[in-house]
């Protein structure tokens, strides 16, 4: 399989659904989001356990591992990140397995906004994307101008993808409109320049119903992808949570005809975990989502394990 990381869409086609259809204030938004079908926790987790038990045959394993590699957003998000570390990461992203040219490139590297320029420089001419976390990652606790400035810094540095966080404080306080409008503002800034992923930080949401509602809020506001976590809290990307996000993008597609993506980030360290998630992508959203354009893993150590497994796979 060749490594094809599609360029971020230059322009996101306008969705059929938008804030205008739903309402303009917290209450209307609340009525819409709370009108979504509920999620039954016990049943959801039961299905997840069933999906987790799927086995991929040895004959198909290599192909699946390659797909997983091509979906990785290779991430470093530490206070101690340096240009040198980012350049090393970029080198690995561009050629994950120097001895084996058949191993695809990863989808993107993911760094803090101030290091986006370093990554852009290191990846010049490479199809690997440059993702930057922005909007006062990971807490999201800053004013909108600061969040927009943060985003602008990343874009100016050459980021092709922006991973923003939602304002969980606003969400939990019921200020859905504020959470929504911030995403819209960032969307407006990145439009035509970068792909927008919205981090829901599902570990800080009360339950699966909220995960579903937050996903819809982000999709309504123009997210290209909904993403589970910052990786800074636990639990992060669990199979049930990812299943709810996959249901959201599937339902969004059934409603609007438009395919949006999911990024599972945080806590996925082993190839086996990644394969479980791909099983869920295949069975919950559908085969059309089995592409780096529509599904990503946010991870730092996962890539090494995928490569390790790949070396032993047939």
């Amino acid at each position: 399989m060749t490594a094809t990381v599609p360029a971020p869409p230059a322009e996101t086609p306008p969705g059929v659904l938008g804030r205008a259809d739903v309402g303009r204030d917290d209450r209307s938004l609340r009525r819409f989001l709370h009108g979504l079908p509920p999620v039954d926790e016990a049943g959801l987790e039961r299905r997840s356990a069933w999906l987790a038990g799927r086995r991929v045959a040895a004959s198909a394993e290599r192909q699946v591992l390659d797909l997983a590699v091509s979906m990785v957003d290779l991430t470093t998000l530490e206070g101690a990140d340096t240009p040198g570390r980012v350049r090393a990461l970029c080198a690995q992203a561009h050629r994950p397995e120097p001895t084996d040219p058949e191993v695809p490139q990863v989808a993107a590297v993911c760094v803090y906004p101030d290091l986006a320029a370093v990554a852009a420089e290191a990846l010049r001419g490479s199809p690997v994307g440059i993702a930057a976390v922005a909007t006062a990652f990971p807490s999201g606790r800053a004013s909108l101008p600061v969040k927009l400035a943060d985003t602008a810094l990343a874009l100016d540095g050459g980021a092709t993808e922006i991973d923003m966080v939602i304002d969980r404080g606003a969400w939990l306080a019921g200020r859905y409109g504020q959470a929504h409008d911030e995403i819209v503002a960032v969307r407006a800034l990145v439009d035509g320049r970068a792909h927008l992923k919205v981090i829901l930080e599902t570990g800080e949401l009360p339950g699966y119903d909220d995960v579903r509602r937050a996903a819809w809020l982000a999709l309504l506001a123009g997210a290209d992808m909904v993403k589970t976590s910052t990786g800074k809290t636990s639990p992060a990307a669990t199979l049930p949570v990812v299943q709810v996000l996959l249901q959201a993008v599937r339902d969004w597609y059934r409603t609007t005809g438009e395919r949006r993506g999911v990024k599972a980030a945080g806590g996925i360290r082993h190839a086996q975990d990644a394969v479980r998630h791909l099983v869920a992508v295949h069975e919950v959203a559908g085969p059309a989502w089995l592409t780096p354009a529509l599904f990503r893993f946010g991870a730092s150590s996962l890539l090494d394990d995928l490569l390790r497994r790949r070396r032993t796979a047939r």
Partner: protein
């Protein structure tokens, strides 16, 4: 990409299938009479034979049961300990028994394993009753019935669910297994012997005719099975249990994704879907999408969601029922899923525009056919459901679930789940299971 799970086949040898079986009487296999062929539903081929119990075998079994029951019925603490051990044996031999279920009854092996875990729990719960029957609602000094004839449709889990409470109460059992899946019952009797249950307490007589003196006969199964069973107990009034299928009632506020999971989990059982008209289209769309991705195939394959039907007769009856539904004007959608070339498989099939008067809405459904009926109000849902054996109510509203449960004449009503058989409630563990 072209996703493929490949095949993850289980090892058929795990099932320890033997080429020949015979009646299990008084703690051992006895010779028996003419062999009955046992087919593997996955291939349609004969994979074992069971010597049918002749009249002498049945008489032998009843005599052995009669002798064994005397001691068994008077030692509650010993019964408790031995039945606890039987549960342990089922747990220990789970993979083997699950593989046998897959081979003999076509149950997907992963589901079979879950079933057997539940079986062990059930036996354990019954074991716990054996030494405290005075608390089980039978009065201060309950006595066993004596020798019980049991006819059960279905494979090992169904058999164990009937037999364990009977044994716990101090009865000895002479069991006639389902001719479509007779091996599970024989292996259960073997397991009971392994656990140390006295000889004669559990006897299995395939194809036997219970025309000898037993104290009661319990028949459990769908109507067609009960009618056939009546011929095996000539001259006796047969008490029978289940009739009617499973009603899946999906309200407009249901957790739809989980409702789909529940419908798919019970696929192949006698079930109907009743859905609020306002969400019928959405449910139908999601259901078809889901069914199209199901993996139908070898039940020993770890990735199989749906196996074959347990007998060619059932398959043919399902096909006939589907044809009748077409004739009566239901609209059919058949899953495009690939079916194996051999064996008794049927693709999942959804029928919409089903009227309550159609055959597919009223008769026992022997395979993965899903008639979908719509309702406008909760009251109409209850009326349309009729008298199901069991129901699953899918709604986010607790009061509505309880309202529905109080009005359905079903033995069990699940809310937002289906097919959970926890034996914890005393009534469900005992009185519900012994019907004569």
């Amino acid at each position: 990409m072209n996703w493929d799970y490949g095949v993850a086949p289980g090892d058929a040898a795990v099932a320890k299938l033997k080429p020949a079986y015979s009646p299990f009487v008084d703690g051992r296999y006895v010779e028996g009479g003419d062999p009955l062929a046992v087919h593997n539903p996955t291939t349609g081929e004969r994979h074992a034979e069971v010597a049918a119990a002749c009249a002498a075998d049945v008489e032998h079994a009843v005599g052995a049961a009669r002798r064994a029951q005397v001691g068994w019925g008077t030692l509650p603490a010993r019964r408790a300990r031995l039945l606890f051990r039987l549960a342990q044996v089922v747990d220990d031999r789970r993979d083997e028994l699950a593989a046998l279920e897959a081979l003999d009854a076509g149950r997907p092996v992963r589901r079979a394993r879950d079933d057997l875990t539940a079986v062990a729990a059930h036996v354990r719960s019954c074991a716990g009753w054996a030494d405290k029957l005075e608390f089980a609602g039978f009065g201060p000094a309950p006595r066993p019935v004596g020798v019980l004839g049991v006819l059960v449709a279905g494979a090992l889990p169904a058999v164990a669910r009937r037999v364990a409470p009977a044994l716990a109460c101090g009865n000895a059992v002479v069991l006639v297994p389902d001719p479509d899946a007779p091996l599970g019952a024989l292996v259960l009797a073997e397991a009971a012997a392994e656990a140390g249950l006295p000889n004669g307490v559990l006897n299995v007589v395939p194809g036997g005719v219970l025309d000898v003196d037993v104290d009661a006969v319990a028949v459990t199964g769908p109507p067609a099975f009960c009618r056939a069973a009546a011929r095996l107990v000539p001259g006796r009034a047969v008490a029978r249990e289940t009739t009617g299928g499973l009603a899946q009632i999906v309200h407009d506020d249901a957790p739809l994704d989980q409702a789909i999971d529940g419908i798919v989990e019970a696929l192949g059982e006698d079930q109907r879907v009743l859905v609020a008209e306002s969400v019928a289209d959405e449910l139908g769309e999601l259901l078809r999408e889901r069914l199209a991705r199901l993996r139908v195939g070898d039940p020993l394959d770890h990735n199989t969601d749906l196996g074959p039907m347990s007998s060619v007769q059932r398959r043919d009856r399902a096909v006939a029922l589907a044809t009748a539904a077409d004739d009566e004007g239901a609209r059919r959608w058949t899953s495009p899923t690939r079916l194996p070339e051999h064996g008794w498989f049927l693709a999942p099939t959804v029928f919409i525009d089903v009227a309550p008067t159609m055959r597919v809405a009223r008769e026992e459904i022997p395979g993965p056919l899903l008639p979908v009926l719509t309702f406008r109000t909760p009251a109409e849902a209850v009326t349309t459901a009729g008298a199901p054996r069991a129901a699953a109510v899918w709604t986010d509203k607790g009061s509505r679930a309880l309202w529905t449960a109080q009005r359905l004449p079903a033995g069990i009503v699940w809310v937002n789940t289906v097919n959970r058989w926890e034996p914890a409630a005393p009534a469900a563990a005992l009185s519900d299971h012994l019907v004569f």
